[in-house]
Symmetry: C2
Subunit: 410 residues, 2 copies
Amino acid sequence: MELNFEQQEIYKLQKDTLVNGLIDIVPLESFEKKLKESILNNKPLKIKFGLDPTAPDVHLGHTVVINKLKQFQDFGHQIQIIIGDFTGKIGDPSDRDATRKQLTDEEVIYNAKTYFDQISKIIDKENIEVFYNSKWLKQLDLEEILNIASSITLTRLLERKDFTNRFNNNKPIALHEFFYPLMQGYDSVALECDIEIGGTDQLFNLLMGRHMQGHYKQNEQVVLTLPLLEGLDGIQKMSKSKNNYVGIDESPKDMYGKLMSYPDDLMEKYINLVTHYSIENKKALIENIKQNKIHPKNAKMQIAKHIVTLYHGDKKAEIAEQEFNNVFGRNALPEQIEELELNAGIYNTYEFLTDNLSLFSSKSEARRMISNGGVKINGEKLDETQLKIKLEDEMIVQVGKRKFKKIILK
Amino acid sequence: MELNFEQQEIYKLQKDTLVNGLIDIVPLESFEKKLKESILNNKPLKIKFGLDPTAPDVHLGHTVVINKLKQFQDFGHQIQIIIGDFTGKIGDPSDRDATRKQLTDEEVIYNAKTYFDQISKIIDKENIEVFYNSKWLKQLDLEEILNIASSITLTRLLERKDFTNRFNNNKPIALHEFFYPLMQGYDSVALECDIEIGGTDQLFNLLMGRHMQGHYKQNEQVVLTLPLLEGLDGIQKMSKSKNNYVGIDESPKDMYGKLMSYPDDLMEKYINLVTHYSIENKKALIENIKQNKIHPKNAKMQIAKHIVTLYHGDKKAEIAEQEFNNVFGRNALPEQIEELELNAGIYNTYEFLTDNLSLFSSKSEARRMISNGGVKINGEKLDETQLKIKLEDEMIVQVGKRKFKKIILK
């Protein structure tokens, strides 16, 4: 059972592509073996992805996993999405007395539809198997549940970070909470999944799938995790509540503009996790940026346009780019610039920039920016030796790329 | 809703009798209230007792709880015995690979019958309600089980001593083990019990019944615990494996003999927990013993005869007592005494007792016993000043109450 030459090539391409961007592969040998067997026997792998039935607005942070699913799908593997409707429908029993946020069947189905409508911009939703885990979880009886529970020790469960922390800080953990990872693991038993994918913060829960399959004498799934994507601030995980996100339903213009605003050092991560470039093109682009063969700003524009294209198509992406160029492009000024009335005369450069225009909070800050070539007057770089400025009407003072002020003489 | 005079008397008698011998009453006020309401409304209380389906040979240690149930039954309350067949039938899932000790339905029923045949010597078995807990436990689904589990925290569960110890000593606790106390507690929900009785080592599990009933918004049961009975050695809990027990199916003679052999200071406990004397008679007998109005040996004989009567009837108890008197009575010798051939002559007392007769393992032991008056020769106490003994044919040497040797001169 050896791969022939052509199969070797396919294997290499699949492996390189699929491994790209991952954090955990547990275990690697098993992943390689499953991939080879799949190619050899022309039998798709079953790729599990579990989903809350609460239907968020999908943003680029969510697409990190979905993009990986798309890669599997493109290679002909079978995506199995499990909607965790069981817990969604029963709510958290410890909230019994409070208003329980139980979802009805209709809500679960509506939420799932909303979700699939959004992600269908990325993957072929007709080619996905969708399961609701209440189907099998509802049928478990106490004997089976005790059997499931007998497979795991308290010590192992307390290894999950949030449990560890709560236990060590004497914060209560109700017994039923231990069951959620077990149930998630049992989903893998029900579907006999080959691979499960999730965010790196889900590693413990994903490993439960391996554990439960082992307990049920099944072939254990491989666990693949992906990093959490930092938002536009470059620091915190992308999320709606942090307002550092790019929603995949946002307008082309907003999407493009936002995608020009994250820190340059995140570009490699965005290329790997958010774009749909081929593995070769990803590597080439990253290499070109590193070797300064492409200007970071141009690279970022290329990535932004690519991503807008994914969600809005070529034409709209083109228009978004033009608009951006009109506003922020090399010789263009923004459409609206703040105007300031000042008396004509000769001003001390530093006082003028800090006190009169409030462009800096201190003279030393102004000095630093000028010496870096970051201050322009009517498009010309201000020289740090120029200590006086003679005001002209409609004179435009620019700091960095985005800050402009226009002087109107009184 | 006040008790009239007659009801007050009934209440007082019931309470005094039922409280006698208990260790825990949780909570006392609730016990008093339930008892009063039962008398006022002429409505029996439902008294739960949980039973393993493994059918032990019943010994006096077991009867401590059964005697308490009998008192409740005699006062007209309803005994509910729950046979824990659910766990018996599924076995311990963590033993899956080992030979599982699963009981069949037939075995469970056979064991229960064996048990009831034995305890029917104490309580009226026709007047007991018997339940098999698989009836309701089998029907629990995951939603209900999560609800049950949500009622309790890990910290609370770890308060059970064996869990605490194992956790602190890094010995594994499998998750399903936490469910056994919860299931036992749920049994009380299923039957809406008023009172649950058990050994004091069961306190944690019995309190789970209160906890679960509270979670299900039921009136919480009162928990009553009884002490564990020390066996004939006076030290360890009575048990078959320690061979310090009196089985309720033992012959009258063995039973009587064994019941004369436990230490005197346990007599009060045996009176309270093992006899069926009325509360007044118990108190009177204990008082008489304390005030030396009755000789301890006579008190013990009275108790032994009473207990043999309970399990074998008057006549057999009478015969057992006579036999005992024939063997161990004031002037009687046992029917068979070990004989030893020795040469005639004068012997050193201590060497004679230790080396020739092997009645003691050391001379100092012999000396202690002699000075306590525990050694008799031909029925006369041996004086500690007597250092020599002249042997006679058929001389009888007695140590304590039961050890005899007869000398035959060669």
